[in-house]
Symmetry: C2
């Protein structure tokens, strides 16, 4: 039986509810956003008692659909003040699904001085005092709890940053090796979990049967067809498994869209030193890995394990956006140092993108010089982790850091920082950054596809023409993908082979006995976006929030000398369906 | 001839313009808000090149109308992100008016490394390097510039906070003794001036003739009649001259509406020690003063000069809201220490209200304990004045400080802090705080009148009934008063003696040869508010911004156990005319 688990952190009660009919056919982002919309007052204090943290596996998560193990974490964001769904890999989503849990709803006011662990297994669910892991960094929390509750349990946890309610705090999820290396990073949802007084969730699906589709034959055939599409596509079948997402460093740099020195120029002269090629070479030489999956059943395997010179594990999932944020954005060319920063962020429990952009702005504000890798490591270890006043400023993210340091070139939309693709030279992303209800988010509508990778068509990245439609379609597709539990990267294959959408509809139908067509998937995506936009409107967002910062209109980006020239009235049309 | 002076801080050019016809009949807030509306892009970066600082004397300023020497400073606020008019006494407004300047418009991008002084006299206007006063605190700036440019010149200056672009930076104005003790405090307009690279303005009206009304007879008679109303009213004729605004400490405490310990309770058990009565007693014993005017021609004279135990001048205009902010709000009962804090704020150039509430929130966040007067003095001297990271956090005001320190009980509306009257027990003020386009501001619609002082009728302060209309009418009246250049305190007399409005209309007519009726004054107020609301709407404000913080709905305020219970939909009706 599928169920909701509702946990009240005020009176420590847990209720098991059957899934209300209106939520049938919803999962992942579609479900978290709908529950947040239905149950959270849009103007509430994000760290107060009226916010709720909602965790949901995708609709196909836990099945044998390829690369479908994504977890959605939703709430009102303390970073943006709007609705938020942050998405993570790792092993938790599949266990939640197998435990029959459609949504975990964490609500009520957390104690100010006490943290808890929520443990769920086939025997039920219980809240336990978290005293033994309070204050711990995420890897240690995961290892401690797995030691105690079973090596195969998935652990969802916050680090010290979440306990301190920092607006860039992430929610960490253990990977297949038991490392807390996968993160629902964006939007500060770790702070919401911290405000609820929930340190960690332990998910143990031992003794639970595998999920069975209603029509196994059809399901198997459709899954096989989608798998074929993924393994045959050059990006999901070759580029990503070979180099990881860091394959983009050279590509985006070549395109002149790699934001360098806090978005001052579009090329980093030392990009090669932090490229995916360099990373893969080191993985080979040092005993690390590329082609590493973040959850069982992933056929793309874009993750990696980064080892240091001594061949010791440093971090996993050292992604393009992280490498960019601490690398080109801060003019740092030392991949070993960047891997260390990635690990530190994972341990502290903070979003690597928000942290990277915060450091860029801090450098512009004169806190430390550009290029100062050891300076960043010191700020992470001695300020953010320790929760000093400076650490808490940085922990509030890019916008607050800019404000405090008097910096006016602050790359944020709706309070969330702009990631690794300069909007002036990847204008499909510009539209997404400006209009996504999530705040600036490359994953919300990845214009890089048609702009640079020639996937799903070709739209000139340097011109305004065609970007509105491109971003709109990608945002709709993404909202659906995030709801189904698929990794966003399946989009590469689907965009070039639209029949794959049929495979997905067939899987949904075979799993749940439904009659979806491809059009229903599109409608799902649209409905999710409508719900999110409506929440934000009630929270006080207007068209004025759907704009890039002023300096993108003012400063030309080398080498293409582009500026932000998307017309405001066109931005207003993106999600008005 | 009346003129605009337009100063471009990018190319250091100065233009003298005749006043466009559409601005005739506008002055003070009416004029600054209209120019900001007409010339400033509402979504612009407040500290960027598209914002403008507009300074204007009231319509009757410079005449012999009693208590009419107020100065309006306007811009898009870096604190609220909305339109802002901040109002100050002192000698600058009358000199501007006598110099024939309806508005000073400071525009363009300031240099990042250079500050200027704008000097205006009968011989014209010039920009001079400010090197000799850069980094100086305000009193010293004023004394240095008066030494150089004439003892009688008015000086408008920013302190170090404005240079550092802190969002609580004020614009200081010299008083009749040449002290930089009067401030356009609210909304961080000192930061806008700082961002423009303008350190100070010197206004010398030597050799300029007095302003003559078109009909001196009528003017004189009307001015006399208004003066009589002011001197005969118990508040403007007795209470304010005798005790200063601090007379309110005991009154508001008695009413149970004195926010204590960061808005935790409504009474401060040691209020007597920081009361107006204590202040007046000390003034008498130590050689200080009450009944001190902030500008020539003021018949209310509510200001004071506070001396220390040795009989030395400490500060001037130690106002109720300042005494409350550092006093009851921080549980400090030492008036000498509070006077020192007031002086420090004036010297650094920061708003005493925003600073007081920031300290209250910092205390709640554990930075220093409640009651720690020396702690506040240290934070002012060693952190804010020095521009340390902590100082810059505090300098960003209450909202940012709350965010950084993880405090959720943060008393702000539209990013600006709630002043000295708890909205739960002065519900007329609650409506004003929530709906004023200025952000939380007691002076925008002072419900205390009918709620507590029995002026202009009687509306129960503890009930929601009648507050919407009360606040609406007061907001309209205030917008008119701020446009005419009158001190807001004339409202006490006008509310109880509406014929005084005729006197005002007659003065406008006699001065400018117009035909205003009392209704035109009301229309003026309405139009100013409409303009401001419209600017904010374009800047992205919605009904969600017209709300008090959540905790006022949740926590009962002792002794009356009141909560915020004004209906949201009623709030939305306040300024929709």
């Amino acid at each position: 039986m599928e169920k909701f688990i509702r946990v009240n952190m005020k009176d420590l009660s847990i209720k098991v509810e059957s899934v209300p009919e209106k939520y049938l056919g919803l999962g992942g982002r579609g479900l978290t956003s709908q529950i947040v919309y239905d149950e959270v007052e849009p103007t509430c204090e994000p760290l107060g008692k009226y916010n709720k943290l909602v965790i949901s596996p995708g609709l196909l998560t836990g099945t044998t659909a390829p690369s479908s193990g994504r977890l959605s974490v939703g709430a009102k964001s303390p970073l943006t003040g709007g609705i938020k769904e942050s998405n993570s890999g790792g092993t938790a989503a599949q266990k939640l699904a197998r435990l029959g849990i459609r949504a975990l709803i964490i609500e009520g006011e957390g104690a100010t001085d006490k943290f808890y662990i929520l443990r769920i297994s086939k025997d039920g669910q219980e809240l336990l005092p978290a005293d033994e892991v309070v204050g711990m960094t995420t890897y240690k929390v995961a290892h401690t709890l797995q030691e105690k509750y079973g090596k195969k349990a998935a652990v969802v946890t916050i680090g010290p940053a979440g306990e301190m309610k920092m607006a860039m705090a992430s929610v960490a999820v253990t990977d297949m090796e038991g490392n807390a290396a996968r993160h629902a990073g964006r939007g500060g949802l770790g702070a919401v979990m911290g405000a609820k007084g929930l340190k960690a969730i332990v998910l143990d699906d031992t003794g639970i049967e595998r999920i069975k589709p209603q029509n196994p034959e059809v399901f198997r055939e459709a899954a096989r067809s989608l798998t074929k599409a993924l393994t045959e596509h050059p990006i999901t079948g070759q580029g990503l498994p070979t180099y990881g997402t860091a394959v983009l460093v050279n590509i985006i740099n070549e395109a002149g869209a790699l934001p360098t020195r806090n978005f001052t120029t579009g090329r980093f002269d030392r990009a090669e030193k932090i490229s995916g090629e360099t990373l893969a070479e080191r993985a080979k030489a040092r005993g690390g890995k590329t082609g590493h999956p973040c959850h069982g059943g992933c056929v793309i395997k874009c993750s990696n394990a980064y080892h240091n010179e001594k061949g010791e594990y440093v971090t996993s999932g050292c992604e393009y956006e992280t490498i960019w944020g601490f690398g080109a954005n801060c003019e740092i060319d030392d991949l070993d140092a960047i891997a260390e920063m990635d690990r530190l962020c994972d341990e502290i429990g903070i979003d690597t993108i928000e942290t990277g952009t915060t450091m860029g702005v801090a450098m512009e504000g004169g806190l430390i010089p550009f290029g100062d890798a050891q300076g960043i490591i010191r700020l992470l270890k001695e300020e953010i982790l320790q929760g000093t006043v400076l650490g808490r400023v940085l922990g509030q993210g890019t916008a607050t850091t800019g404000k405090v340091l008097g910096v006016t070139r602050v790359p944020v939309v709706k309070g969330q920082s702009i990631p690794a693709y300069d909007p002036r030279s990847v204008k499909g992303n510009a539209v997404t950054y400006a209009t996504s209800p999530m705040g600036a988010d490359h994953t919300a509508g990845y214009g890089v596809t048609a702009n640079i990778l020639n996937v799903g068509g070709k739209v000139d990245p340097l011109k305004a023409e065609g970007q509105i439609e491109l971003s709109r379609n990608l945002q709709i597709a993404t909202a659906a993908v995030d709801s189904l539990g698929f990794c966003l990267f399946i989009a590469f294959a689907v965009l070039d082979r639209p029949e794959a959408l049929d495979d997905i509809a067939r899987m949904v139908n075979a799993q749940y006995g439904l009659n979806w067509t491809v059009n229903d998937i599109v409608e799902l995506g649209k409905n999710v976006l409508k719900t999110e936009v409506e929440f934000n409107k009630k929270a006080g967002f207007t068209a004025a929030d759907d704009r890039l910062p002023e300096f993108f209109r003012e400063e030309k980006l080398a080498p293409h000398d582009t500026i932000d020239d998307i017309k405001p009235e066109e931005l207003d049309s993106v999600l008005s369906f």
